[in-house]
Symmetry: C2
Subunit: 190 residues, 2 copies
């Protein structure tokens, strides 16, 4: 079963209150580009993420606003920032790493909120039923590039509406030389 | 078959003439730390690697001097520098990417010499015979971490003396969360 692959660069999700802390009262995100998942977009807004050790600027805010604030980085970023974030599903932030987010109008010192996203496959309820996947099921995906291999520990993430796609971070994307037209293959699962 | 894993950060190998261009006539490398491969060491010397687009400082020179000058970077570095280096075995530099190396006493504008190293396993002649490997044979290695999987396209590299070890770049190392005590397993091969 073939599947598209999206490589996610470091990014931030914000809840409405935190968006206003960073960008000002009543601020709304500006859509810059639709993402492949229905309703999701890259905003024009960028922030700086900061720790005691270092900082990274120009980190994109994704929209729309969520009901939690979350920073997703790669292990490479984590070394630079001196963090050891857990590998997590979006929104599962208990015990995740502290981080400061700096916007043009203010900053947020988060006691937790920074994670390395687990590898995951977005799939619609309809496709999940059709292909026999359950939510949070773990699968493996083979990628046949010049420096490819198999990604294990890939989480199935079912949404009502979804574009069928594997999401990996930039370490995985660059390690396996994944480009915009690289396809993966979901391996047989029990 | 279990195997140690070494993650190689970006680095430079220099031939004697080029070492002298960068560091001065008669210059010799200073050993900072032995590497796992017999005779190889990280030197105290660092250079800057540069392209028209960007540059990266503090790039370690490995010793001893070789009979070719070569810059090994990751795909992440390649994006930063605006290069598209080929995936290569050390020393196979025909058609590799141009790059400038800057040292304290001079600089080298190389028309070729920058590669992304292929994944490879160092193995001694004795071990290769014992385990049935041929030089440049391609194998796969499984890595069982929280974000692990399988590396395909791993080249067997036989030397008279060698410490048995898989070498991957920082993209692969960080993508698979490889730390100093992570072991790999060479999968069955034909």
């Amino acid at each position: 079963m073939k599947i598209n692959i999206g490589v996610s660069n470091r990014h931030v999700h914000l809840k409405k209150d935190d968006l206003e802390v960073l960008f000002g009262e009543g601020y709304e995100l500006t859509k810059a580009r639709d993402l492949t998942q229905p309703g999701m977009y890259a905003s024009a807004e960028k922030v700086t993420i900061k720790t005691e050790k270092d900082q990274i600027g120009n980190v994109r805010v994704l929209g729309p606003a969520r009901n939690y604030t979350q920073v997703e980085i790669s292990k490479t970023d984590a070394f630079k920032l001196g963090l050891k974030p857990p590998i997590r599903t979006s929104g599962d932030l208990e015990g995740s790493s502290p981080i400061t987010i700096i916007g043009p109008k203010g900053e947020l010192q988060l006691e937790q909120g920074c994670i390395i996203a687990n590898r995951h496959i977005h799939i619609s309820e309809e496709d999940a039923k059709k292909y026999g996947f359950e939510n949070d099921q773990i699968v493996s995906v083979k990628v046949d590039t010049e420096k490819g291999g198999i990604f294990d520990h890939v989480h199935i993430k079912i949404s009502k509406e979804a574009f069928l796609e594997l999401h990996v971070d930039t370490d995985d994307g660059n390690g396996f030389l994944i480009s915009s037209d690289t396809m993966g293959e979901i391996l047989d699962h029990e």
